[in-house]
């Protein structure tokens, strides 16, 4: 069952919502955060016609964006259920809503208008729910088909036992109401409406001709019963009339010649006797779980809704059809003109060429192919259907959109201030946390500069007068410990000269288990009141399962506050897989905390690796290595990176 349905704007206001069960607002907030803003989650199955899916806790969310009005339609339902009609619902609801409130949405009073949309929504949900079972191509056709089996099964079975009793229960009504449709107040419409068995029997009207006589007989018996519900019968007439109208589009979407075929069950009913409509009304009560009163409204609505959907369909097909030679020629000229002047509504065809050029440009900047393609797709999704501004060409619009999307991607959700975080851990302001050393660890592929960047960070921390312990956990490669020892000696020299912090190297030689060494180092640091522990690890190939699996144990034992991955700016396409594999290596619930991109000075403006790595994981870049000296460590400046990329 559907849990909730919301219509919200991109500015965050819920225009209309319907909740069947309480769903925390954090569910939809996380959809907005993860999918729309951070683009962390790649929406699954975002192909044509099928809405993308997002899963959060026990809920599944499907949504549809309407760019023209900046609206988002979100449907929330339990992940356990497979509701095939949600796509259809989103499609229909968005069409209906926009059609109904076009004027309000365009005006500036969008947010304070009261949207009385409930009946329309209910109608759609009922209709689509009734039609479930098989996911048909065109659900209008399904409407007709689906009803028949239901009816048949109702008729085929033996008459349910409670019927006689019921008939006995209403003799007065039979007497009073047999002659006139108007009936009397004595009638018991409630019983007739709510009792399912009666409805089942009366549902006979939909069967083919053969069943008609049987139903007619039964009707004679029960006609009193049927007509006794005077309001039901009167209401029943209205629905019947409108039901016929409603079927018009059922046949093939927008043709009304086939009316008769679909209406074959109601036509004989018309001929048979005036009481027939009442019969239909009662039976539908049972299927649709509608009240007699509600039905009247709903049927009227059904017509309106179907009209709206019809129009939308017709317009769509018209749009597809009008591609004659004259039309296309005119469009081409107009499009060319509008490309210069602006105000052109962008289509996929317009964007194809510039997007290809943009993709090539990004590839030249050493952005991994996967990332470049996905970036371009994202920009395309964003731009299709938008109007260009005055005197803005397609290229300019694309350029601006790409720049914005790069900037959005590279900007971290929360900026990292390392010094402040260290202070918060080593000298907590609240009494609840005991001071402890801040643990950072560095991982990466062989030869990307893990130890070098570690010593750069160490130098930076020493400048800020911290007491730093370097743990040599590369117990694998020969010379790794010695290398760190040299760094430690140099840094000690420097810090003594500057009167800066204090540094020590924690080493346990080669061949030991790295995770245990790291754990010991953290314990040692806690005992000796170090502020920061920097853990160097062995370089490992990211697609070597054996080496990568030891990282999980390492993360558990040392439990670092921050795990940084060093990636070199020189690497190309492989950066995506590197980032992904390392991000996944620490087990569930633990991810990388940031990237350090080394050797940025060697690539000039080809800084595409930044984009590839962030793109693959959504994890921000913390530092850039820009030279050979200890001081050559920089924070990321987003405008700088974007300008280099777009140059």
């Amino acid at each position: 069952m559907l849990e909730a349905f919301e219509i919200l704007t991109t500015s965050g206001v819920v225009l209309w919502s319907k909740t069947y069960a309480p769903v925390g607002s954090h569910v939809i907030n996380s959809l907005i955060n993860d999918v729309f803003i951070e683009e962390k989650v790649v929406p699954q199955g975002a192909s044509a016609g099928v809405s993308p899916i997002f899963k959060k806790e026990k809920y599944t969310l499907k949504w549809k964006r309407v760019k023209e009005f900046n609206l988002i339609f979100v449907a929330v339902y339990q992940s356990l259920l497979h509701l095939g009609w949600i796509d259809r619902l989103l499609e229909n609801i968005s069409t209906i809503f926009i059609d109904l409130y076009k004027d309000q949405l365009k005006g500036n009073r969008t947010r304070i208008t009261a949207y009385r949309f409930d009946p329309y929504f209910e109608q759609q949900v009922r209709e689509l729910e009734d039609n479930t079972g098989s996911v048909a191509e065109t659900y209008p056709a399904e409407t007709g088909e689906k009803k028949d089996p239901l009816v048949l099964s109702d008729n085929g079975g033996p008459p349910p036992p409670p019927v006689p009793g019921l008939m006995k229960a209403q003799p007065q009504a039979a007497l009073a109401g047999a002659t006139s449709d108007e009936g009397t107040p004595l009638a018991t419409p409630d019983t007739s409406r709510s009792s399912t068995p009666v409805g089942h029997i009366l549902a006979g009207k939909a069967g083919p001709g053969g069943r008609l006589s049987r139903r007619a007989k039964k009707l004679q018996n029960v006609s009193s019963n049927a007509s006794s519900g005077d309001e039901t019968s009167r209401k029943g007439k209205a629905p019947k009339g409108s039901a016929k109208k409603g079927r018009k589009w059922d046949a093939s979407g927008y043709a009304d010649e086939d009316d008769g075929e679909i209406l074959d069950y109601s036509a004989p009913a018309d001929d048979a006797e005036p009481a027939a409509p009442a019969v239909e009304a009662i039976s539908q009560d049972d299927w649709g779980r509608r009240t007699g009163k509600g039905q009247f409204v709903l049927k009227e609505l059904g017509d309106e809704v179907h009209d709206i959907l019809d129009n939308a369909d017709a317009e769509k097909s018209k749009g597809n059809a009008s591609s004659g030679i004259v039309g296309s020629g005119f469009n081409a000229v107009g499009g060319f003109f509008r490309n210069i002047v602006g105000g052109k509504t962008l289509t996929e065809a317009d964007l194809q060429k510039p997007l290809k050029a943009m993709e090539d440009h990004l590839l030249k900047k050493n952005v991994a192919r996967e990332a470049a393609v996905r970036l371009c797709e994202g920009v395309e999704r964003e731009l299709v259907g938008k109007k260009t501004a005055n005197f803005q060409s397609v290229d300019t619009a694309l350029h601006i959109a790409m720049e914005a999307s790069l900037r959005k991607m590279l900007t971290p959700t929360s900026s990292l201030d390392l010094l402040r975080e260290i202070n918060a851990v080593t000298a907590p302001t609240t009494k609840q946390h005991a001071p402890r050393p801040y643990v950072m660890s560095i991982v990466g592929v062989n030869g990307v500069g893990k130890s070098t960047n570690l010593s750069k960070i160490c130098f930076f921390l020493l400048q800020n007068k911290y007491k730093v312990l370097i743990a040599a956990c590369d117990t694998f490669r020969s010379g790794a410990v010695e290398q760190l020892r040299v760094h430690a000696r140099n840094l000690k020299e420097l810090s003594v000269r500057d009167g800066a912090g204090d540094i020590e190297l924690y080493e346990k030689g080669y061949g030991k288990d790295a995770a245990n060494v790291a754990k010991d180092a953290v314990d040692y640091a806690a005992a000796h009141k170090f502020d920061v522990v920097l853990i160097d690890t062995a370089g490992r190939r990211h697609n070597d399962q054996r080496l990568m699996s030891s990282l999980e144990k390492f993360a558990k034992f040392a439990n670092p506050d921050k795990i940084f991955m060093v990636g070199e700016a020189l690497v190309g396409t492989d950066s995506v897989m590197q980032a992904r594999n390392f991000n996944a290596a620490f087990g569930t619930g633990r991810n990388l905390d940031g990237f350090i991109i080394s050797k940025c000075d060697t690539v000039g403006d080809m800084v595409g690796t930044l984009v590839s790595m962030v793109h693959a994981t959504g994890i921000p870049i913390v530092f850039l290595g820009v030279g050979q000296h200890y001081g050559d460590l920089r924070g990321l400046s987003v405008p700088w990176a974007v300008s280099l990329l777009m140059k």
Partner: protein, 317 residues
């Protein structure tokens, strides 16, 4: 013939214009009556549009900015008296809302309470514009800060900013991470304002209109919320910490490329003393911390929790 000759010579034209042709009379009447009307419209329009009444609403995500905006919108519209549910924003919006007539404005400060024209004013409530921005970390720089920069530096009366509301969730400030997030955003915002007022002071003798800042301590209705005074202390302490670590932190990569961007320090230049919002008053930034609640007590009058913020807005108008 005579008409053709008339248009060819100067005297001909003069003669033509002065003879009593209906066209000439019509034009003369049109000009005689049209010009005053036209002038009136032009000057009336110019006088009617207030100098600027734009307010910018900033703050971290989840503080209640959009809820506040919708509340004000609902309050100023006669039809609906129910504010809507909100979710995380992705785009900023500009809404035009009206100040309740009971809220005093700064322009009415010197009027007597018995002034009969006050009643007139209460019949036409003052309208102002409120710009709601998304508070998500990724969208702050692109929409919040850049909006502030363009609005504060704009010369156009229509888009100039009158005041800045920075909304914080006082119940969440207890959490270290939330406090850090809010404080760093506030730090960036104040830095922009300081840069603006410092730059203006150097270049021109005529000082720009100051932009007052209101820290709207939202969610005062919650049991776990901090009182405004404590919010002020916490934010000051945290900004002080940010300021200290900023001076020691790493440089950005853009520094190497020769783009000389001077890193400013909020408040006094050397960042020696403890930071307080009072320090900013030297450079003309007045910071107030006022508590309130967007989602107030249901028993109380609708939207009464934001009354004090509206009063602040009124004092800016």
């Amino acid at each position: 013939m005579s008409s053709q000759a008339g248009w060819n010579s100067v005297t001909g034209i003069a003669t033509k214009l002065l003879d009593g042709s209906p066209l000439a009379i019509a034009i003369a009447i049109l000009i005689a009556f049209g010009v005053p009307v036209f002038l009136h419209i032009v000057f009336y329009r110019a006088a009617a549009s207030p100098p600027s009444s734009n307010f910018l609403l900033l703050g971290p995500s989840g503080a209640g900015k959009t809820a506040f905006t919708t509340l004000l919108e609902a309050k100023s519209s006669p039809a609906s008296k129910k504010s809507q549910l909100t979710h995380t924003s992705q785009a900023s919006t500009l809404v035009s809302v009206s100040l309740p007539p009971t809220v005093p404005t700064a322009s009415n400060r010197y009027r007597s309470v018995n002034d009969p024209s006050l009643k007139d004013a209460s019949r036409n409530p003052i309208r102002y514009c409120l710009k709601d921005t998304p508070g998500h970390g990724k969208l702050r720089t692109s929409q919040g800060i850049s909006e502030l920069q363009s609005m504060s530096s704009s010369k156009d009366v229509k888009t100039k900013i009158r005041g800045l509301l920075f909304m914080v969730d006082t119940a969440a400030l207890v959490d270290e991470a939330c406090l850090r997030d809010a404080a760093s955003y506030l730090h960036d915002v104040l830095l922009v304002l300081q840069k603006r007022s410092m730059g203006k002071g150097k270049s021109s003798t005529k000082r720009e209109a100051e932009i007052p800042v209101l820290i709207a301590a939202n969610k005062q209705d919650l049991f776990t919320s901090l009182p405004p005074g404590s919010v002020r202390e916490k934010l000051e302490a945290e900004i002080d910490r940010i300021r200290k670590s900023k001076t020691k932190g790493l440089m950005d990569a853009s520094m190497d490329t020769g783009l000389e961007t001077e890193e400013d320090v909020l408040g006094d230049d050397d960042a020696q003393g403890v930071f307080t919002f009072k320090l900013l008053e030297q450079v003309g930034i007045k910071v107030d911390v006022v508590g309130g609640a967007v989602k107030g007590d249901p028993q109380e009058e609708f939207g009464s929790g934001v009354r004090r913020w509206e009063e602040w807005i009124g004092m800016c108008l």
